[in-house]
Symmetry: C2
Subunit: 355 residues, 2 copies
């Protein structure tokens, strides 16, 4: 049995007993019942995922995966392909948005070259697991082979597994890849049957004319490849990307290890569409950090039944939204674990006052 | 000229030049223009407030003010009056929600007894500036005298001023006071002409019957006192609270010192209604951390033209929402200050690719 199949079989439902215990504890903490709102919900989810009544979000990591996309040949965006590699260099020097935010929330970052079109200078911070030198142009045929799709997923499983072995409470996902909103929109359309125009947004900032062209490119990619929505691996191979497959693998691997996975925006969302189609239970292991400003993102989250924590009109990618989501997950775990109970604090309870 | 008048006169418009400089810098940072959404807006506001193009949110404090309310005699809530003092003890022992969250975001907390009904054991963490031992029952007459209203405001101005003298980049507001949603609803109705039923929520968790009673209490308080909406001091005196006046003073004092003030939920919102009525420019110095689950809060923020950052269904008070808002303000300042520019990072710009 291969790693992918084995990982999917390892994914189990949430731990209901731990969730019940947290629900009960929340009502003993010194606050009106339910008054921490979504932080309380989040603490219950964390407990169900980790299988313990005192979940922790102290050991934090962001996994940021990069890859190039052949579809950039169709001029779908307004940034040249080289920017993928240039931005990864920026990550390694600590100058990007994700560096600043991950530092603020105390998360380490694992950068993975899943398939950048060029070779970067070796760097101890960069894990090179290239599935290829960029995908093929999906307007002309499949973006990758079926074997590459499995390799991308298994690479993600391995990466998060290696980190889990070192000790990991919670992981966030991020991406870098010029052209990857185009691939993500194509995955979204392929998996849901939505039209190209429904699922396509302006990415890094397109004009109306450029947007119409991008929609046309996605239509052509879908017509040429006819991805089969009942076969998520087929969709990933035909219109996906190496970093998207890798992130879907991270989600599967995290769920198999009972590690909560905080997903970023549109690209992580496309990866989640693949992961949750391969293993529906993964959905319960996902925390949707934010709804991004990319046009299709609200519908994408809704399709998966995911409710975002934040709505800050962000659309940077890199995992910047996920880093903020990790902060909230930590707030949820800490309030659960560190607030005093009514009994400990000697505070009269509301209900008692009524008796 | 007294401290209140002097403080109001010190409040100036935001620094437009600093804001322009930040707007320009944001477009040079290594990300698609505008892609950090509300964090970018926030960085611009911070610059306008602090009057510098590299605003900072490193030195952080929460000011949490507590006071008791005579209207509790009318049984408006389901928690006994003693809980105010008990919860402040819980604050001082570090066991409340605000302790956990302020610690996480690295903010110190300044606890102020503005008018708890009893004397607490002296504690180096507690600043005692009692304006009285709880307000009077506003159903029978004014909650406080006009002199007490001014004293509450000036106490808030002094507290934030003392902290500013030690070095303060950003301040958050929080409250504790059994009965204070009732007072806040009355302020909201008095200042806006809205009906008692429009402005009244379930506070710590009331039944339908209890809610109807609370609305009736607020109606009576407004009928008995006839607060004059054109005189914010009159409204504060007649239906306000010592901690609410104190927090309004913190907002005025912060604005006068060019310090951004992150406000919490419904009670801080009522204080902001008073502060912005006394000095309309204060609005630009306020960052609304979140919209709380308390029924009247969205309309309250809308009335002031404030757009909340978070919507997490929280209604705990204590400044818990404001602590999360401080985290986002720090994220805004840090991304602005610490991200590399395209030139620094050697990354091709989207626009250049189009040229």
């Amino acid at each position: 049995m291969n790693l992918l199949t084995r990982t999917i079989e390892m994914i189990k439902p949430l731990d209901k007993a731990a969730m019940e215990e947290v629900r009960a504890r929340q009502d003993t903490l010194t606050k009106p019942a339910g008054s921490l709102g979504r932080l309380e919900e989040l603490s219950i989810q964390l407990a169900g995922i980790q299988g313990k009544a005192r979940p922790s979000a102290e050991k934090k990591a962001m996994i940021v995966m990069a890859g190039d996309h052949g579809v950039v040949d169709e001029k779908v965006g307004n940034w040249p392909r080289e920017v993928t590699a240039q931005m990864v260099q920026n990550f390694l020097r600590g100058g990007a948005g994700i560096n600043v935010l991950a530092r603020q929330v105390g998360a380490k970052i694992i950068f993975v070259d899943m398939g950048i079109a060029s070779d970067l200078k070796p760097d101890p911070q960069l894990i090179v697991r290239k599935v290829g030198y960029g995908t093929q142009n999906m307007c002309l045929g499949p973006a990758m082979t079926a074997e590459q799709a499995v390799q991308a997923l298994e690479t993600g499983i391995n990466i998060v597994g290696e980190e889990a072995d070192k000790g990991l409470d919670i992981v966030g996902t991020g991406d870098m890849g010029i052209g990857n909103t185009t691939s993500s929109s194509a995955i979204f359309a392929a998996m849901t049957g939505k039209s190209a125009s429904e699922v396509t947004g302006r990415g890094t900032g397109l004009t109306d004319e450029q947007l119409a062209h991008k929609i046309d490119v996605i239509k052509r990619a879908l017509e040429v490849n006819k991805p089969d929505p009942s076969q998520p691996l087929d969709v990933l191979a035909k219109v996906g990307g190496f970093e998207i497959g890798g992130l879907a693998g991270v989600m599967l691997g995290a769920a198999a290890r009972r590690i909560p996975v905080v997903i970023d925006g549109f690209i992580s969302g496309a990866a989640a569409l693949i992961a949750t189609a391969l293993a529906p239970e993964v959905k319960d292991y996902i925390i949707a950090a934010h709804v991004s400003a990319e046009a299709g993102h609200p519908a994408m989250l809704e399709h998966m039944g995911l409710k975002p924590l934040l709505n800050l009109d962000m659309r940077l990618g890199e995992g910047t939204g996920a880093a903020l989501g990790i902060f909230l997950a930590e707030a949820a775990a800490r309030t659960l674990n560190k607030m005093a109970t009514f009994a400990e604090a000697g505070v009269s309870e509301g209900d008692e006052a009524e008796k």
